[in-house]
């Protein structure tokens, strides 16, 4: 019962580099989300998807891109990393709208 799996757990990037944060879920959930959590703050929604092939922007999408080619996977792409993207990133999934979301363990990203 893996649930939501995120890789990597930690990463240090230099300014201007790019990377992809991986997220996969094995619960056959239609809905998937990417959140970021800055120190002392709540989680802010970056992007979400209501099903394979469908993605939409959340509250803080700038500097990120996503794709949803399968139900299981929802990778988050950072292009041209900036120090402002230093954060902890959480991927989550839920069965339908109105149900609780299950979260991965998070990816701690530092941009220097």
């Amino acid at each position: 019962n893996a649930g939501v799996t995120q890789t990597p757990k930690f990463r240090i990037l230099k300014i201007g580099q790019s990377m992809t944060l991986q997220c996969t879920q094995d619960m056959n959930h239609n809905y998937m989300y990417w959140y970021r959590q800055d120190p002392g703050m709540g989680l802010k929604l970056i992007y979400y998807s209501v099903g394979a092939g469908i993605t939409d922007k959340g509250e803080v999408p700038n500097g990120y891109n996503v794709s949803r080619s399968t139900t299981e996977d929802f990778p988050l792409r950072l292009e041209l990393a900036a120090p402002s993207q230093t954060s902890v990133y959480f991927c989550a999934s839920s069965a339908t709208g109105g149900t609780e979301a299950f979260f991965g363990q998070g990816t701690r990203l530092t941009v220097v």
């Binding site: 802010k44 959340g58 609780e100």
Partner: protein, 114 residues
């Protein structure tokens, strides 16, 4: 503009006593509320929820109260245990929201002292 606020960043409680965590919201479209618990280096885990058609929901030691007129909800933990020490996030959504986008508060760090 924060739509969900948790005004107490931290709370310290003695083991066995009641812990009360508070949450306020401003968006009147919110009709479903959730509490998540987060341990260090882990993702948040769902704890308890409440629909706006109710004013109370109970699950073991955890009870959530909703006051719609005041746009306020609270989480009561009785009795508090050291293992309850964690950061608690309040979240809200509108069930009419197609993406079930949760709006989170900033969290309250609960410390339960033995």
């Amino acid at each position: 503009d924060q739509q969900v606020k948790q005004n107490s960043p931290s709370l310290s409680v003695q083991e066995g006593r009641i812990s009360i965590l508070n949450c306020d919201y401003t968006n009147s479209m919110f009709d479903y509320f959730l509490w998540y618990k987060k341990y260090p280096a882990e993702g948040p885990t769902f704890l308890i929820s409440i629909s706006s058609i109710k004013d109370k929901n109970e699950d073991g030691r955890f009870t959530v109260f909703l006051n719609k007129s005041a746009k306020h909800l609270s989480l009561h933990i009785v009795p508090s245990q050291p293992g309850d020490s964690a950061v608690y996030f309040c979240a809200a959504t509108s069930l009419n929201n197609a993406g079930n986008m949760l709006t989170f508060g900033g969290g309250t760090r609960l410390m339960v002292k033995p």
